[in-house]
């Protein structure tokens, strides 16, 4: 159920390069390796008891995902959060999912709506107790929408986008407005069931903007986590 491995131990059976990549990615996204932290290939290699080569392999992938910055002969560090990249990733995700739910609403498949409501009931149940599980359920909700639209591979694309503002989300997880998000899920499912494309589209746009609603506070609380200067009109851009 969990999206990331919870323990950061490396199992040496099978290919360790990809495995190491997932571990490091989880550590970065969860801010166990905070933005700006300096790490080296040999350091990680020694820590996990492997050679530098698989570490290097993992580093290359993390660089391509924008989670790591490597400067030859100088050193590597966990990429600071690029606000522009975060906002742009949300822009792409919003546009994509808006088209998805619009398409779904024009169909109004009752089976899909039933499945969504089943998931919403689950979300309701775990809401109070375990916010981490709620995040997993939220992810499943959106993946279900994408796959219902016949866009099998779209979700994998969105997943790489999600990485960037998942880092933000992890910092704000304490103040995560699960009640608001849950209500928005209900609205989305309702608009799809009512065959109201415009309404469904509007609902999910509102929903996806909610995710970054606490971004301005985070930039103030942890300015050292962010790339460059935090612009003044941030609140306006988020909303």
């Amino acid at each position: 159920m969990t999206a990331f491995p919870t323990d950061w131990q490396l199992d040496l059976d099978g290919p360790i390069g990809p495995r190491l990549r997932e571990i490091l990615r989880a550590r970065i996204v969860s801010c166990d390796l905070p933005p700006g932290a300096r790490i080296s290939e040999s350091e990680i290699a020694a820590a996990y008891g492997v050679s530098r080569q698989p570490v290097r392999e993992a580093f290359i992938k993390l660089v391509q995902e924008g989670l790591l910055k490597v400067r030859p002969q100088r050193g590597s560090e966990v990429a600071r959060i690029d606000l522009q990249a975060v906002l742009d990733a949300r822009f792409v995700r919003e546009a994509t999912e808006a088209d998805i739910v619009s398409l779904l609403a024009s169909r109004g498949d009752p089976a899909l709506v039933a499945e969504l409501e089943r998931q919403i009931a689950l979300q309701e149940r775990v809401r109070k107790n375990s916010p981490a599980d709620f995040i997993d359920l939220d992810e499943m909700f959106h993946r279900t929408l994408a796959e219902a639209a016949g866009r099998r591979t779209v979700w994998t694309l969105i997943e790489t986008l999600k990485l960037h503002f998942d880092r933000v989300r992890f910092i704000t997880s304490a103040t995560f407005p699960t009640d608001t998000l849950l209500a928005q899920h209900r609205e989305i499912a309702a608009r799809i069931g009512a065959r109201d494309p415009a309404g469904a589209e509007a609902a999910i746009r509102t929903h996806l903007r909610e995710v970054l609603s606490h971004l301005p506070e985070v930039t103030l609380a942890h300015p050292e986590y962010f790339e460059g200067q935090v612009p003044d009109g941030l609140s306006a851009q988020v909303a």
Copy 2:
């Protein structure tokens, strides 16, 4: 101006891993390394006179871009074109650029419209003689739209999506309907200038569907280039 290196010689100054990656990517996209072609690390290493390590590095990146398939201890081959991935990539791009031009049209910046018309005039000039240059200009046109919307990093995201249907586009470049595309560019610029968001959005959606208009023919001409079975209702999905 050209999006890819035209000659496939490897300059040994500076890091050769990233360089090699671009070269191989260009060769794959242009079908010089056709889908399904089997290649190995050592083979490429010998061909370019480098060791296997930077080749491996390039391979990892290509795998992550979905252009290469590597099966451990078996061999690597150029990934066949995944129709679902192509159509989904177009879906994401269409949704994203639709929101972009909608935003731009709500502003109606005259300076932007002037720039677009300047580019269109250029496109008109090179249209007949060099279709390759037209492709480059088309790319610049769309990048201009993204950057004008203040979405600096969105275009880099779209570029990775573009890779997949650029492979299709390269095969059909002979029958590329430059006149139609040019007219659609004019329509997009006009709707932005007229401050008509809905019209601009509709125009660019039509435009982006045109790019894959020849996809069904290609799947029939080269079925060995594609992953799995080509579905019957393809034409409907494209349109």
